[in-house]
């Protein structure tokens, strides 16, 4: 499945509107930097399998995230790079071989209208993106015109390219309801490896493995829910909430995956292993700053500023 996404729709969560937006913000941001865009320009998020895109006009694009074995007019392209596309070309993707989500950014950005302040697609409310639906055959994406397209290959420094693994270690900040779990329950959560189940999508990743014990029960008086929240329902196995998650929920939340690590989970597929490690606020903020520095580094060696606007 492919949808148009940007950094998400903030400001309406008090009205029950999920934030949506890209699942892997690192690959998304890098794709925009490599394409010479503003960092939050709308991109195509492709999951598990990519599409075929025909370009009647010349363009400049960047591809980051899962390797979907992209080809330009039959020739292999470099993942984590920006490159020029001549008029009358075909950019084609296949199945993801490492990771599961790839981001295709177009220099200039995708010129779909904003819906409630964002171009992100939220399928359940048929909102944003291309008339609220996932991309399908024959759809036409309009790309904002750019004065002067770049033409040079723009590769991301190897040190900034993440290595996707099938054994993830995610940092979490414990809470908000860790006090509703037994000591054993907490120990189980922080020591056992969980497997990503086949039930994983833009709303949530359901994990399989050792059950986590609540003190009395899994239900709470519903409160707010955000991407990264690790809910433990009555079954005792974790559900990690993702971009399209509901804004409120009624299961106890043992911990929250920190932002920079949630992007890594977005690349995990069924069968991959996940374990959780507790971290402090200071460590989480340091990780945020490190993430920001990676973007600065990529931007400093990237294309000189392009006159791009949507």
């Amino acid at each position: 499945m492919s949808t148009i996404q940007d950094k998400g729709r903030t400001g309406y969560r008090a009205f029950g509107m999920p934030i949506s937006g890209v699942m892997d913000r690192y690959a998304f941001t890098m794709a925009n930097i490599l394409a010479g865009n503003e960092r939050d320009a709308a991109v195509v998020e492709m999951t598990m399998c990519g599409g075929r895109f025909q370009f009647p006009n010349e363009a400049y694009v960047a591809v980051c995230g899962a390797d979907m074995q992209g080809t330009l007019n039959g020739k292999k392209i470099k993942n984590w790079s920006g490159f020029y596309i001549p008029a009358n070309s075909e950019l084609a993707f296949g199945y993801a071989v490492g990771g599961c989500r790839a981001y295709l950014a177009f220099c200039g950005g995708i010129a779909v209208p904003q819906a409630m302040g964002s171009r992100s697609t939220y399928l359940r409310a048929e909102l944003g993106g291309l008339e609220g639906h996932a991309l399908q055959s024959e759809d036409v994406l309009e790309i904002a015109r750019v004065e002067e397209l770049p033409w040079k290959l723009n590769e991301l420094a190897q040190s900034l390219v993440p290595r996707y693994t099938n054994d993830l270690r995610l940092r979490v900040i414990m809470g908000p309801q860790d006090d509703l779990f037994t000591e054993d329950g907490i120990a189980t959560f922080l020591s056992r490896a969980y497997a990503v189940s086949t039930r994983n999508d833009r709303m949530a990743y359901l994990l399989e493995g050792a059950t986590i014990a609540h003190k009395t029960g899994a239900d709470i008086v519903s409160d707010a829910l955000c991407p990264g929240a690790v809910q433990i329902p009555g079954s005792g196995t974790p559900i990690v909430m993702m971009a399209d998650c509901q804004t409120t929920g009624g299961y106890a939340k043992i911990a929250t995956v920190i932002g920079p690590d949630l992007a890594k989970l977005a690349q995990a597929k069924a069968g991959d292993k996940v374990s959780f490690v507790s971290c402090s606020d200071a460590e989480a903020v340091a990780a945020l700053i490190a993430e920001k520095k990676s973007y600065e580094k990529a931007a400093s060696v990237s294309l000189s500023k392009i006159n791009a606007s949507v």
Partner: protein, 247 residues
């Protein structure tokens, strides 16, 4: 007031928990704090989400540390009961509903289940305004409080695949409106011609958490005309500003 707790939600979230019960007085505190933080800290706070008995505060940890934010919130909390309560107002929004018939296929069952007539169910359902404790589940879906237990009815055994936007229903002791077409197991007693959620409007949502909804019965014949007014943009919802009760 109960002991207020501040809980961590990742590196950019903080929950201010006022209690563990569903209670209008507790909820009023949530909405007061929401307003203060939205007004006073627009830079550092990304957005707030009021729920039954706690306020989620999303903040930018690169602009303010959790410790400073907690200090600021503690200061606002200290003045919350006195200053804010005096000037605290809320809105009562009238929701016209055509009850029964094709719009409320389960009204008959709700009446039978509670040994009432259909008219009695409608009279009870429209007898008092309901507090919007919070909004969640789907965009615009209100969690309402205050419905009489005399019309409480269990959910359908088999949920419907498609419930139209505007459907008004009962599930257990709860009542609510479906803002967008979705599946669901609520007993449908009527439908409002109002648009609860319109993403293209300047204010996309008809009501906010903390408002009250007053259902008002209309005749089935009136539904079409009202709907036309709503669709053509010529309908102004009936809104009354009142002092917040339950504080």
């Amino acid at each position: 007031m109960q002991k207020i707790r501040m809980l961590k939600v990742g590196e950019q979230g903080l929950v201010v928990e006022f209690g563990t019960e569903i209670d209008p007085a507790v909820n009023a505190q949530v909405h007061r704090l929401a307003k203060i933080l939205t007004d006073e800290m627009p830079e550092q706070i990304v957005e707030v989400v009021p729920t039954y008995r706690s306020l989620m505060v999303y903040f930018d940890p690169l602009l303010i540390s959790r410790e400073s934010l907690q200090d600021d919130i503690a200061r606002y909390l200290a003045g919350l009961e006195t200053a804010a309560a005096a000037s605290d107002t809320t809105r009562i929004i009238t929701i016209p509903v055509s009850y029964g018939g094709e719009f409320g296929p389960d009204l008959e069952f709700v009446a039978q289940h509670n040994s009432l007539t259909e008219d009695e169910v409608v009279a009870i359902h429209t007898s008092t305004p309901y507090l919007v404790y919070m909004i969640g589940f789907t965009p615009g879906f209100p969690y309402l409080g205050g419905m009489s237990e005399r019309i409480a009815t269990p959910r359908l055994k088999t949920p419907r695949v498609k419930i139209p936007a505007g459907a008004v229903g009962i599930a257990g002791k709860q009542t609510g409106i479906y803002p967008i077409e979705s599946p669901g197991g609520w007993q449908l007693i009527g439908r409002t011609p109002l648009t609860v959620f319109d993403p293209s409007a300047k204010s996309p949502f008809l009501f906010a958490a903390g408002d009250y909804l007053q259902f008002a019965a209309i005749k089935a014949e009136e539904y079409g005309a009202l709907k036309e007014q709503v669709v053509s943009g010529n309908y102004a919802p009936v809104v009354r500003n009142v002092a917040r009760t339950g504080a």
